[in-house]
């Protein structure tokens, strides 16, 4: 026998489900949450601000570092000093605002544009740069292409290239924490393109069913390589997808550090209180190409990008702090000079490492201890290098 709650009330005369699609309905239902306007004026309720000025300043400095890092690394890639780079220019407030809203014991499951969050979690800049170079100082031992860092001491998980696979990991870790009685809330990032992938669905579904303490942050930057957001989903907003999963959704101005921080902090508190996960859509924009392997001029008219340059998240925080008397041009110049110096110093240090990790590291960490066939293969490789050193030379045919 069917129970009432399974089917709901069935009207006697079925009229069909002909509700007119109302354009803009979900844009109204999920209004863009903003605390600071583009000119730096506080437009939200002051009691919703979750960051004191000193903390805003600290995060602003990190945003400046993040921007300088991205710009410098794109140059380095063009110079051939690193093989690849993928950054977050224009998306710094989304990344740092959300990461900073979590506790340090909360785990972060990144996509691949959250290097700012890795630095916030204490990954040394030198270690990050060594990852880009895949050299002997690389914590990943030269195994991944650039920008796929992991930083265990900061509870910053390991990055893989397949899209959205990290989402269920965040759910599992938070689930495990709850079983162990830890008050950990997991944060995970993905792009709006990632919401099309199956792991987005399974992750959000698993989390909602069990009210797992996770904050899902979608960096909606408008583009998945060349595919615009409107070719990614028929939904008006990403936030509304939360409704179907049975969780709370929010749409936030992703270029507003304070709004992202406040929304994430609220989501974190709800999760920690057992009220379940939240999907936060941070509306931002990828003002650069997807990565250094991409030239957006092939598919994106420059005039689309122009308005977003005015919405620059760094500029907005600089104006906000200026209005509050917490920052000025002289202090800003000082920060920028410090950041340039820090970057230069770290770069020099990173380039001082041997260009490659030792050859035996190729066979380590496949398993906890090398299996016999891997020991044999290491011996085979060492023998081959000894017989002909060109085996270890990328341009062996020139030799």
């Amino acid at each position: 026998m069917r129970r009432e709650h399974e089917v709901g009330a069935v009207p006697r005369r079925q009229r069909g489900n002909h509700r007119e699609w109302e354009t803009g309905r979900f844009l109204k239902e999920f209004p863009l949450y903003r605390l600071v306007a583009e000119d730096g004026e506080l437009v939200g309720a002051p009691d919703e601000v979750t960051l004191p000025d000193a903390e805003v300043l600290r995060l602003y400095r990190l945003m400046v570092l993040n921007r300088a890092l991205d710009e410098r690394m794109i140059t380095l890639q063009r110079q051939g000093r690193i093989g690849f780079y993928i950054g977050s220019i224009g998306e710094e407030a989304t990344v740092l605002g959300s990461a900073a809203a979590m506790l340090e014991t909360d785990w972060i499951f990144p996509c691949y544009r959250e290097h700012g969050a890795a630095l916030l979690r204490g990954m040394p800049l030198v270690t990050f740069l060594c990852d880009l170079m895949g050299n002997a100082g690389d914590a990943m031992k030269g195994r991944q292409m650039p920008c796929h860092e992991a930083w265990r001491p900061g509870c910053f998980a390991s990055i893989s290239s397949p899209i959205s696979t990290q989402i269920p990991h965040a759910v599992g870790a938070a689930w495990a924490a709850r079983l162990k009685g830890d008050a950990m809330v997991a944060l995970t990032y993905f792009g709006e393109g990632g919401t099309s992938a199956h792991d987005f669905h399974t992750g959000l579904n698993f989390a909602a069913v069990r009210k797992i303490p996770v904050v899902f942050v979608c960096r909606n930057n408008g583009w998945a390589i060349s595919v615009p957001r409107e070719r990614q989903t028929g939904s008006e907003t990403i936030a509304q997808k939360a409704i179907a999963y049975g969780m709370r959704g929010e749409r936030v101005d992703g270029n507003d550090l304070l709004a992202v921080h406040a929304a994430t902090r609220r989501a974190r508190e709800r999760a920690a209180a057992g009220e379940g996960p939240t999907l936060i859509e941070c509306v931002t924009y990828r003002v650069e190409g997807h990565s250094t392997s991409d030239d957006p001029r092939a598919y994106r008219p420059a005039e689309l990008v122009e308005p977003w340059k005015k919405k620059d998240p760094l500029l907005r925080m600089r104006r906000y702090l200026g209005r509050r008397g917490a920052h000025d041009d002289a202090a800003d110049e000082k920060i920028r000079a410090e950041v340039r110096e820090e970057l230069q110093r770290a770069l020099k240090e990173a380039e001082g490492f041997a260009p490659k990790p030792p050859v035996e590291s190729l066979f380590e960490d496949v398993y906890a201890a090398p299996l016999p066939h891997l020991r044999e293969q290491l011996a085979e490789l060492e023998e081959a290098i000894a017989a002909d050193p060109r085996v270890a030379n990328p341009r062996h045919s020139d030799a």
Binding site: A139, P162, A170, D199, A369
Partner: protein
């Protein structure tokens, strides 16, 4: 010593490990109150509760994906994939995440888990309840892959797998889930992963098999004995790591080998075994190494007995190899 079938042995291993280590958890479809469609997790929900025996939504990628997070955080998850045929939605998670997590993070993180799944045909299950996908996983660096053939090994190897620091794919031979019975010690014991077992000594040729096909190989060896052919039978048990030493020693002794598996022939694990044996036993070989396998077709429904490399086909190969 109690007599158990493979299901009971698996259940016993899970129960003992969950009692020993509070970090061991079970998750999957229908594994909770119902105890799994094959009853492998029966009673665990009642003993350990819903927090450690978790019914999940119906998504294999989600089961393995959340198990990754659990393992990273310090649990020892034992996800169940209801049938090995349904493991492919989780293939990306297994191949790109589970297998590579330790390596790609430079050893900062580890992802130990045991993915249990019933595999194999002969149960009138058609394409989607019969496949033997072990070779996909042996081909993936970072995974261990084991296939017990009997209750004693099933219990001991599952206990070893749960204690292993690496991710283990644990393929359970569902055709003999209940048919294979034997004495199983009470309490904990380990059967080491990576050790094959010579189950029958002989001098005419070496028969190599694992899981449900070990029973067919053993049957063929008995029938061959009646014809005066003295077969050695090796139950591989562990495909990765592979006990090359035991295999090579046997084939050097007999000079002949027949490899049996129910997965399709092309790129099946038999191809790897054949390559290894010819590399290491070349001067000892008296006949070509021969494979008796499933065919390169999808697994059939009505003609499944013709498809499976059962004892009569193995016996035919044995005769051909010894008279080569």
């Amino acid at each position: 010593m109690p007599t158990m079938n493979i299901i009971q042995a698996v259940n016993d291993a899970l129960r003992l490990e969950m009692r020993r280590d509070p970090d061991v958890v079970v998750l999957g479809e229908d594994v909770g109150k119902f105890g799994g469609v094959f009853r492998a997790t029966q009673g665990l929900y009642d003993e350990f509760g819903a927090d450690r025996v978790m019914d999940t939504p119906l998504a294999e990628g989600g089961i393995v994906g959340t198990a990754v997070g659990m393992a990273l955080y310090g649990l020892r998850p034992v996800p169940e994939i209801q049938f090995a045929d349904f493991i492919f939605p989780a293939f990306d998670q297994i191949v790109n995440e589970v297998a590579k997590y330790r390596y790609r993070s430079g050893g900062q993180y580890a992802c130990p888990m045991v993915i249990r799944t019933p595999y194999g045909g002969g149960i009138r299950g058609g394409h989607y309840h019969s496949q033997s996908p072990e070779t996909h996983f042996v081909h993936t660096a970072g995974l261990k892959v084991v296939v017990p053939s009997n209750p004693y090994d099933a219990k001991g190897m599952l206990i070893s797998a749960i204690r292993d620091p690496d991710p283990v794919l644990f393929f359970e031979p569902k055709r003999v889930y209940r048919a294979s019975k034997g004495e199983v010690p009470e309490g904990e014991y380990e059967v080491p992963i990576g050790k094959a077992r010579v189950t029958r000594e002989g001098s005419a040729l070496t028969l190599v098999a694992w899981g449900a096909m070990w029973h067919e190989a053993d049957q063929a060896a008995r029938e061959a004995e009646a014809e005066g052919i003295d077969c050695e039978v090796v139950d591989l048990r562990s495909l990765q790591p592979l006990d090359t030493e035991t295999l090579v020693a046997s084939v050097k002794k007999t000079g002949r080998a027949v490899v049996v598996h129910e997965a399709p022939r092309t790129c099946g694990f038999g191809a790897e075994l054949t390559a290894i044996l010819q590399e290491r036993c070349f001067l000892h070989l008296e006949a070509p190494i021969t494979r008796v396998t499933g065919f390169d077709t999808p697994f059939p429904y009505t003609l499944e007995m013709e498809y499976l490399p059962r004892a009569p086909r193995i016996l035919k190969a044995i005769r051909e190899v010894v008279t080569y």
